[in-house]
Structure formats: C-alpha cells, structure tokens
Amino acid sequence: MKKYDVIVVGGGPAGLAAAISSSENAKTLLIEREHRLGGILKQCIHDGFGIIKFGEKLSGPEYAEKYKDMVKEKNIDIITDSFITDIKKNDKTFSVTVVNSSGISQYETYSVVLATGCRERTAKQVFINGERPAGIYTAGTAQYFTNILGYLPGKDCVILGSGDIGLIMARRLTLEGANVKGVFEAKSEPSGLMRNIVQCLEDYDIPLELSTTVSRVFGKERVEAVETVRVDKNMNYIPGTEKVVKADTLILSVGLIPENEIAEKLGISTDIKTKGPFVDNSLMSVNVPGIFCCGNALHVNDLVDYVSESGETAGKNAALYKNTNRKLTKIIISDEFMYCVPQYINYETDEKNIIFYIRVKNNCNNVRIIIKNERDEIVYSRKYIIMRPPEMERLVINKELFKNTSFINISLENGDDNI
C-alpha cells in the first residue's frame, strides 16, 4: 500500500491550494474524480474571479489554470479520473479507498484534506406541484450544458431563486439568444451579489420578482408553463396572486449544500448552520483529528479567493499535523448570524492571526460586530454601514486576544454606541 503524509480529496480551487501548501512540508497526493483539474471553475466562464488574490478580473478557467500551473511546479502526485469511495480511520493513519478504471486501490495517509466542493439543491428538495416533465434543470446543469457542451437548455426560461449562479445563467442564456422571462425569489431580498443583479439582470431588462415563487409546473413531456405566486414573510402562498408564465424551461438556483458524504461516513460532526464539519482555526475537524476540510465542502463560499485561502490553511496544517491533544475554545454566535467558520479556536497553532468567515441572516444597517471573552470583556469590535447575507465578512484577528478564555461570544450590536 502506498503511503503519504497528506491526501487531498478533490481537485477544485480548494484542493489545488491545499495540495500546493501541503507539498511544502509533506508528501502529498491529490485525487480528482474528473479528467481535468479545476472543479466547478471549468464551467464558470464569466469573469470576476481572483479580484482579491490576483488583482485581476479572471474567468473561472483562467483562475483554475493559474493554480494548475503552480501545482505542476511542486512535487505533488496527482491521480485523476479516480473517485474516493471511502476513508477509514486506523490507529495512527487513515486508509483511503480509490476506484478508477484500473480497479480499486488503497492508500495510507497521516492526514486527509476534504475539498469535495458542494452540490446543488435539486427539484426534489423544492416543493413544486405538477408533473415532472423535461425542461427542469439546476442552474449548474444548465451552466454545464451551455458552457461545456455548447447547447442551450431551452428558449423561454424562468429562473427560480436569485443566487449568483442563477443570475449569471440569466445573462448567459440571454446572450446565447434565449428569452429569460424572469427571476423569481421567494425571499424579500435577492440572495445574489448586487453586482450580479446589475450586470446580469438590469443590463438585459430581465425582471426580478421578489417574495414570489414557482408553485406549479404545467406540461406532460416538456415544460409548457409555470405558475408563479406571491408569498408572505412565512413563505405561505398569497391566494389570488397566481400568474401563469409560458416557458419551456425552469431553472432552479435554490442553493448549494457542502458535499460531505465522506465526512459523514467518518462520523465527523457537522454544523447544521454550515452543513459542513465543525472545525477549529486550522480547519481540522473537532472530533476526528487528522481530517481537514476547506472550500465549499466546509461552507458555501461566494468568492473563490476565499476558497483558495481556506485550502491553503487546511493544506499547511494537514502537513504539520501531529496527533496531540487540543484545547478548544468554543465560538458562540448571536442569533443575527447565519454562521461562523471556524466554530472553535485552537490557541496552540502556528498562526499569528485567526481568520473568521461570518455571514448575517438578514440585511443589517449601521451595526457593530463585537467579540467578548468569557469575562465579558470586549476584545474586538468593528463597525459596518451595511451587512448583507450574500456578502460573507472576513475578519482577521490577532490570536493573542483569545488567550485564556474557554469560549468567545460574537454578537451584533447597534453601530451608534461609542466604544
């Protein structure tokens, strides 16, 4: 059995960054199930990637290529067209089972980085009445058809959900000659970035209808029309507001969920808020030491730059991993926040700073993020004019501030008070 220090699962931007940083200090193997490295970026042909990392507006494939070039310069073993089916915990190592065209093989490793990305919520997970005719796609599938295979999923399209991938597909389908009849969002706020509302919808006069959902699909073989309906705050249909929109295609952009089948099999405890593993600041699982997680497998990111950053952190720490006891400080967040990653702090790591990725549940104006230690002392505070759920906030805070406390509290307060 071949032995490695670190095995990275998944060759998207998170896995590529993890393999690069891990290879500095450890014998590293990268495993990808597809033929080409790059993950989902291969089909994200629009620009806007790498603004933070490279100061350029790159397309997804260009961003991926930069990392693929860096991977080639390092001493990293890579196997593609290979699927990791199982990881088992041994006394001091893990056994990784890999399936590919030459059969089943086993590898042994001291630590593992899970960089398996996320998957889309599908039609089964959204409640829509009516038949299930052809012509219903997730936004990612529509993106794959259009950008990789080169054919249009339909002529008259309705998009359910205002996530970024849906917005980007609205523009993409319009450019290719489809008629996008509207984007319907059940929430009262769009869930994608404002820049995408402007450059993907407003530029092309594509209507965005908030507090509205698709309640029914018409058509036997192929979608012929959909029924939209307005919803109240509690997502109940408002009777009498139904409208029929003629369309041959319904595209679902209703959210992404971290892909964590392997983590589940390993018994890794997951955060119901992120749907990814509970981790400390080294991005190591809190209950299965030696397993690290990054990118969209950890929590759904909107910026690839932060995906790469988390890959770098996970890879570096996986390479340095020694099975020693950790003392963890729990991070408690107040109700206004959707989630915070990491969920725990391990004070005994190399880093000087701790990076927090934090997201609010609703739009908040004029607020202050306050972090307190167990003695109720304020150790950090930062003011925001506006915080919006689609825009994840990243805080870089000196680790020394979290010394000698068994938990920290992160809360959101009115921004006006003088602190």
Binding site: L175, E176, V198, D203
Partner: protein
C-alpha cells in the same frame, strides 16, 4: 442619481451628484467606484464572456472573453462575431481568437486551452 458599483463583490451603493458640472461620488469604498460611476453616466462599458465552437470532440466549446471592456450597447453585436467562429487548431489560454473585434480596440481571447497540458 444612485447606482451600485460592479467592479468588485463589495457592490458599494454610490450617490452621484452633478452640481453645475462638478460631479461628486460618495459611498464608494475605493477609487475604482469613482471611475466606474463617471464612465457609467457617460458611456457604460462591459466585458463579455462566452464560448466559441471547436472541432475537438472532447472539448466542443472553448471559453473566451473580451480582453477589456466594450461599449455596453455593442454586447450583442460582439456576441454575433463570437458566434461566427469555429476553432480548428489548438489554442492556449490568452491566445487572440478575434483581433480588434468590431474596431473596439479590444480582442476576443481564449480563457482555456483546447488541450490538457
């Protein structure tokens, strides 16, 4: 007038005032917002990303983009030019697919390779 800056994911909400020809922009977190706002009120510019057909069976489409911004009203004309192309020889990332498209001073460039390096 109000607008959102689209230059980065921050999406700053800006207020633009024109006082006797003197334009002031507020709400932008950086200089790029100011530049964008001035451009947007005079002649809006956009980048275009798309794909071109190829003769390669394993890569039927090659992603491309404009090398810089083009006037917003020219987006569909540029798309038309992009859709006329079929790539039959290997190209690398950054290669020019259409030189100076529609005299905009901007090229259409490949954003991926037709081969696996």
């Amino acid at each position: 007038m109000n607008m959102y800056c689209i230059e980065c994911p921050n999406g700053c909400f800006m207020e633009i005032t024109d006082y006797e020809g003197k334009i002031t922009v507020t709400g932008n977190k950086c200089k790029k917002g100011y530049v964008y706002a001035l451009q947007e009120i005079t002649a809006p510019m956009r980048t275009v990303c798309s794909t071109v057909k190829t003769c390669f069976r394993n890569i039927p489409r090659l992603p491309v983009r404009t090398s810089g911004s083009i006037p917003k009203e020219k987006i569909f004309e540029v798309m038309n030019e992009i859709n006329k192309i079929t790539v039959s020889e290997n190209v690398s990332i950054g290669d020019i697919i259409i030189n100076n498209v529609l005299n905009t001073g901007v090229d259409i460039i490949a954003t991926s390779n037709t081969y696996e390096s």
